[in-house]
């Protein structure tokens, strides 16, 4: 333990504690800008500087471990003047059109300017306007807002191991950009949006579909259906000032109805459908022993990552579409048919914790219904904005159920939103499909939680299967390098079933979730999903009465020809230079 003084408060902290963390313990808040609790401090901005008696110069508190007997001062006139000057310099070439900025009221730079009492910008403004990068269908990058904190680069390279963003050039010319300035849409970017949720300012945000959705809602000729991903119901509350981890399923349905969506349905319904298709796939691969391990395919960021960096694993991928895309295909066929609505009049909107879902919806192969299956994708942030625009306060909403015939769901579906959830849900049903009996111990705890790579062995009627779960693409890379090596050297892998989610924490930590996210909040959202699971009458996908109905009345059986046409997909090899498809060949055989 180390004893030191911060502003005349005595503190005792473990060795290695930074001054910033030590001060926090003493209830002293040192202002920060580039610092993020989930990232390694880089000290780029210098806002968190402090003075230490006997040590010349100012030290960055975010990356300086406190020393024995140090006397640290955090708010002397010299420090306060330095901070103001640093911020002045940042503001001198920051595009300060705050009123029309996507981050208005959520901006860390704006907040800091208020905290430090900036009432004028001392330096002459640099007026140079750089072009906004609109090349990606998921993410927009406005370099005029960038403050060089480096968070996006760190998360893209270190945590996600994608390396789409980097600093190019040097000195005044240096810029955070993509290789050759080609734009995110022409880079290996997988659209996960972790750069977006880590950006302190308005330099990175989603390609908005808000205007398109308003137009569709206001068009009396169109029938607008909406689906909500599991992770949205534990996030949306935060958009309205509720505690992280508030479960707002019923309020969300009510609010969407008041936004005048014609039918409020559920992604969770098609999450159950995904389990039926993927579960049968797992069982058949376990029986044949072919193309094991089976790897899950729900996360579109992961899919593009796999296509770009691990295309040799394509035969191992589940061909089951993600719940969003299954919903899209079913809404314009089954739902249209049963409800007597012409499919061309249906506009299919999804609410997702995700920016990669915007890319997934626009993939040219996602037109199984004969139309673009999912027309518009809104992030949790966007639907929050729409609700506020419409004068809806989620907290005041009653609890309402989703609409029939695509609104009913089980606990297995709702845990899709947390890392390990798809695995757990699939095993609950696979056990039944293999043994004909129900799994007694429903909760498969070794696959829960925020450990980067989780492994377990599951006993299915005497047959042991080894499973692994990875979240964040950096962890996926670590796991899959091992798998690729095993397949190459031994012709088989130690694992039979692998779940990968692109975002840290799974979908609850998605790139479309509210600003100001961190791992601690992600964990609470995940917990809330497991709580909902426990509260639901059905907890296994195959028990869902609406799922039974769709197979009975429409699809036949899981993996039937019709199910294959509508609910399964294929993958492509992509270039790690620009993310474009290399060979247009159908690289997975439809079985």
């Amino acid at each position: 333990m180390i004893k030191a003084m911060i502003n005349n408060t005595e503190i005792e902290v473990p060795e290695g504690t930074t001054i910033l963390a030590a001060a926090k313990k003493a209830n002293i808040n040192i202002p920060t800008l580039c610092y993020h609790p989930d990232l390694i401090p880089g000290g780029q901005c210098g806002i968190c500087v402090v003075e230490i008696e006997g040590i010349p110069g100012l030290k960055r508190s975010c990356m300086t471990p406190i020393g024995e007997g140090w006397k640290v001062h955090t708010h002397t006139p010299r420090i306060m003047a330095t901070r103001k000057q640093l911020l002045d310099l940042i503001l001198s070439n920051h595009d300060t059109d705050c009123l029309t900025c996507i981050k208005n009221n959520n901006c860390e730079l704006q907040g800091l300017a208020a905290t430090l009492g900036i009432n004028s910008i001392e330096y002459q403004k640099m007026e140079e306007k750089l072009p906004v990068d609109n090349t990606s269908v998921s993410i927009v990058r406005n370099p005029n807002k960038c403050i060089f904190c480096g968070r996006c680069i760190q998360v893209c390279s270190n945590i996600q191991s994608v390396n789409a963003l980097a600093v190019n050039n040097r000195g005044y010319e240096s810029a955070v950009t993509t290789a050759f300035d080609a734009g995110l849409g022409n880079s290996p970017c997988v659209n996960c949006g972790q750069c977006v949720v880590h950006c302190p300012v308005g330099a990175l945000y989603e390609q908005s579909h808000i205007e398109d959705v308003w137009r569709a809602i206001h068009d009396p000729d169109l029938f607008v259906v909406v689906q909500e991903a599991p992770a949205v119901r534990v996030m949306l509350g935060e958009e309205f000032g509720m505690e992280p981890g508030s479960l707002v399923t019923g309020k969300m349905h009510a609010a969407l109805r008041r936004l005048n969506f014609d039918a409020v349905l559920e992604t969770n319904f098609t999450a159950d459908l995904t389990i039926m298709e993927e579960g049968v796939e797992l069982v058949s691969r376990l029986k044949s022993g072919k193309n094991l391990p089976l790897i899950t395919s729900c996360s579109p960021g992961w899919i593009k990552f796999m296509e770009t960096f691990y295309h040799t694993l394509i035969p191992h991928m589940s061909t089951a579409k993600s719940p969003q895309q299954m919903f899209g295909a079913i809404a314009k066929t089954y739902y249209a048919e049963r409800m007597g609505i012409p499919p061309e009049k249906i506009v299919s909107v999804s609410i997702m914790p995700c920016t990669a879902k915007k890319f997934e919806a626009k993939r040219p192969e996602m037109r199984a219904s004969g139309y673009q299956d999912v027309d518009y994708v809104l992030t949790t942030r966007e639907i929050g904005r729409m609700m506020r625009e419409a004068g809806i306060d989620l907290r005041e909403m009653p609890d309402e159920p989703a609409d029939d015939i695509m609104g009913e769901y089980t606990g297995a579906a709702t845990i899709f939103g947390a890392t390990g959830g798809v695995m757990e849900a699939a095993l609950r049903s696979a056990y039944f499909l293999i043994t004909g009996r129900e799994l007694e111990q429903l909760e498969i705890t070794p696959v829960r939680g925020l450990k980067g790579i989780k492994e377990a062995e599951v006993d299915i009627d005497g047959v042991k299967i080894k499973i692994a779960v990875a979240h964040s693409l950096g962890n996926a890379r670590r796991l899959l390098d091992r798998v690729v090596e095993q397949l190459k050297n031994e012709g088989r892998s130690e694992y039979q079933f692998i779940e990968v989610m692109a975002c840290p924490g799974g979908c609850v930590g998605g790139g479309g979730q509210s600003w100001g996210s961190n791992m601690a909040k992600r964990a609470r959202r995940g917990e809330a999903l497991y709580n909902e699971d426990r509260s639901l009458p059905y907890r296994r996908s195959h028990e869902n009465p609406s799922i039974k109905a769709i197979y009975e009345k429409f699809l036949g059986s899981p993996n039937s020809e019709k199910a294959h046409k509508l609910l399964h997909t294929r993958y492509f090899k992509r270039s790690p230079i620009d993310g474009k498809i290399i060979d247009g060949e159908n690289t997975t055989e439809r079985r």
Binding site: V162, A166, N168, R170, A179, P188, P576
Partner: protein
Amino acid sequence: MSSEGHCRCTQIEEESLYTELEKILEGHKGRGKDLIIVLHKAQGLFGYLPRKALEMIALELDVSINEVLGVVTFYNFFSTQPTGRNSIKVCLGTACYVRGGPGVLKQAEKDLGIKDGETTGDRRFSLGVVRCIGACGLAPAMIVNNDVYGRVKTTKIMEILEKYE
């Protein structure tokens, strides 16, 4: 650094150099640590670093294209632009700056249809900037290859350049 000796290469010759590059890359497969050495060799080969070469290097060394670009754009030695047969340097030192250097640069850019740091499509000229060449009395000054031109008038730039093939 100059890349003279390669500066007369045509597009067709450049194509044949990629086979050479492939040979160089063979010894560095999957070796990201060799990046700078390989970039040196590639620039020696082409006289600059064409985009296609950078992409090949990234794929063969198994490093991201962004890492390659980060290094290439950081070091002055590396150039992603081919160099021309004749080098034009416009002086923007203090004296030239106040006597109209920026205007000369702007006009040269306009006349040649390229920006500072670029090369014309026919590789006849590369355009760049220097900070003082010690010819302050002749400001604004400009150097073409080894010839110094003083009191440059924006209307006379093309006349000067005509001499250089």
